[in-house]
Assembly symmetry: C2
Homo-oligomer: 453 residues x 2
């Protein structure tokens, strides 16, 4: 857990005026990182890393060239991805946050000098394209919401919804790194094999009829570990750099047919969208909370997954919401509809537990690896993080008893069991608490394109 | 399928004498690629790519600097990994093979000039360290032997060994790229959660008691495809660059407890060993054979996985063998013992089918991605590609009826159900046919280190 320090002081204001608006998720208390491209400039020369502040981005490479950072920090900021910053150890990372905070706040050291060259170091979001923050070596997806696991299990394995390993093992699987795409990238509906309607018949290859989103968050690995070395739960957060929003698009009909015995494969690997902003663990410090309290009767985690600090402060009080707009809704000028709203604090496993478990066999995590949480669902109906759960497998032709199936009705009277072509899904996330500035995670958007002919 | 051309002519000899020995797997007809480091030279400057020839390696970067290659080929050879060569399109790749063959054969164009500078362009294997050929973006592992799938299924799910999807879906899963290690890297025994002895009790975290190897082969992706685009079965082999041997080390006790519902995770991600030589699809051309003939009653693959060419020549007549030596065997001067011997030709799915399926949802494959076959097992007992199958889950304390369990007896009278510390496993592979020079794939070795205290 990072200390809550003066960089969080709610009275701090920025000389970038848009950061001081009450509703800005990007005040000087946040300082999320991003990687951006200025379309005007050719090749790599136009790519840099930055910090979100209000409606603008501070070009950190430009600042480093102007001498605002020294030594190790400066060279990490001149790289064309966030890998250099992510690789910093915790003291250096904290020093970097303090320095950026000082530069962007009113009356900080050197802040006047920086503000005076704002035309050279500040870019507006409209003028850039936000990219994946880093080249992700490996992408791992966990399954850390017991509510999600129980709901999905009830549909996929009605006789055996929550498997006996769930309460001991932070279940995860390797995802596909190549198909990670940044916010706003359109997602083509995949084709794939789906189960035969009648057992024994051949399966059909078709456009997925059950395309879904999954509301998730992801953590980027900071400093890594060497192959063969483990990471103790006490040190786990030293290896966590920060978090983003993740939409783990899922083709449920493909998944259902392919996933046994080796897990999801083509049902997921057609696209996974990540938000462009990486909100650091330091920025989240004031919003850390107790880890999920297991209900009575649930076993304790094994000792390698337990620490007092993690139990007391391993959770994150992060709010999440998912919105949808159909093509027809946009044509009729209707606002996107909120599909669900949840919180990350009720996850069965903490980020530290996921990371420690991941490395517990000696697996090497590398700087920039992405560790996603799995679908974030809470107990109540409106907090379910995917359509499969919200509509209770409401797709036409599914083999389940229909009585719990509840398609979603849109403001246009359209119905949704799963996603249709032209649907746009976006996820938002934020932290808020009395006496604190709101910390936004930004958005994670994608629109569904029709399958290839 | 690549044409069988003059580069395969069995009368061709090399001016590198060791390549002409009957038993060399690296004659001028093979020309496998590798990436090596000369330990004397600092940093990247000492890393280059090369071609194996007899007991030597032709330093392709040095040859390129001497002007032996032109344009596109030259720049691909100057890169510090095989990515540039793998990205070449098929005509360029064939041109590269022809040129290297001409340079290394007796009386080829420019071969005298090259032979005259042999001290500068040939290195002996002892003088270099062989590395992973390329930085692998994503590693995928298939499950393409129906014999392996049936055997493992019988042990893990006795009531349901071969799932209904198997004969339609080339089953695969995402593996871990970070823990791919080159031939010879010692493998530390992982620790992990294993199932409780009594149902309902908590699991135990311990050193894996059921450490196993898996005999596999892997294919490197040549030119990739863009996200959202598929690859037809007719064009699949254009995207296959070449193959290596793979040992997909597996901790069976960890796997058994963790693998449901999302597949293997920590049971595999502690290490996967790959052989250093990449034997190109062009070198394998004379050994292509009919794809596996499905027994009567098995369904046809769906049309997207079927082509006449693939059916006729999609298989590879590749022989494989696994050897083991225990510490005691080495101390007593005993030769390694052959655990199994098999062939790749009996795989249920061809490399082209695996690749086409992989991209059939629009998943983008990138140059240098590694696609492994899954354990290569054939029908007879001596061709089973892992200890789990060879000893029929012969580990102590396993919950199965013992009558089929058959531990392996080593020449020292030691018994092996699974691997012990100090055991060294190595895999070899080769192609042979009457009237053809033998094409070797080299070796894939690893020795088991004790788990961390």
């Amino acid at each position: 857990m990072r200390p809550v320090d003066e960089t969080h002081h709610p009275d701090r204001r920025s000389w970038v005026e848009s950061a001081n608006r009450e509703d800005s998720g990007f005040p000087v208390q946040n300082l999320p990182f991003c990687r951006f491209e200025r379309p005007g400039l050719p090749g790599r020369s136009g790519i840099a890393i930055g910090t979100g502040i209000g409606d603008s981005i501070l070009d950190l490479a430009a600042c480093a060239r102007e001498g605002f950072f020294s030594g190790e920090l400066s060279s990490s900021l001149l790289q064309p991805t966030l890998a250099g910053v992510m690789a910093l150890d915790v003291p250096a990372r904290i020093a970097l946050r303090r320095r950026i905070s000082d530069l962007l706040r009113e009356s900080g050291p050197d802040s006047d000098r920086l503000a005076a060259m704002r035309d050279r170091v500040l870019v507006t979001r409209e003028d850039v394209r936000l990219l994946l923050p880093v080249e992700v070596g490996d992408y791992t997806d966990f399954y850390a919401s017991v509510f999600h696991a129980t709901n999905v299990g009830s549909m996929f394995r009605p006789d055996n919804p929550l498997l006996p390993n769930y309460k001991y093992v932070p279940i995860g699987y390797h995802g596909r790194a190549s198909s990670l795409v940044p916010d706003g990238t359109p997602v083509r509906r995949p084709q794939g094999q789906t189960a035969p309607a009648t057992e024994g018949d051949p399966p059909v290859r078709q456009r997925s009829q059950q395309l879904d989103y999954e509301l998730e968050v992801g953590f980027y690995v900071g400093p890594g570990n060497r192959l063969g070395e483990t990471i103790s739960i006490e040190r786990a957060e030293d290896h966590l750099f920060g978090m983003s929003l993740v939409n783990d698009w899922s083709a449920r009909d493909i998944q259902r047919w392919e996933y046994q015995p080796l897990g999801p494969f083509l049902a997921k690997s057609f696209a996974t969208t990540v938000s462009p902003w990486v909100v650091t663990m330091e920025a989240l410090a004031p919003f850390r909370c107790q880890a999920y309290s297991r209900p009575q009767g649930d076993p304790e985690p094994l000792p390698y997954l337990l620490s007092d600090t993690d139990r007391r402060q391993g959770g994150i009080d992060l709010r999440l919401a998912v919105f949808l707009s159909s093509r027809q809704m946009r044509e009729q000028g209707k606002e996107p509809v909120e599909l669900s709203r949840g919180t990350f604090r009720d996850m069965y496993w903490t980020p530290a537990q996921m990371l420690t478990h991941h490395a517990s066999n000696g697996c090497n995590l590398r700087t920039g690896d992405l560790i996603a949480s799995g679908t974030v669902s809470n107990q109540d109906r409106h907090s379910r993080g995917c359509l499969l759960e919200l509509t209770w497998d409401g797709g036409p032709g599914n083999p389940l008893p229909g009585n719990r199936r509840t398609p979603i009705v849109l403001p246009t009277d359209e119905r949704r069991s799963f996603l249709e072509d032209g649907d746009e899904v976006f996820i938002t996330g934020w932290c808020e608490a009395p006496g604190r500035r709101r910390i936004g995670l930004g958005e994670c958007r994608g629109i569904i394109l029709p399958a290839d002919a």
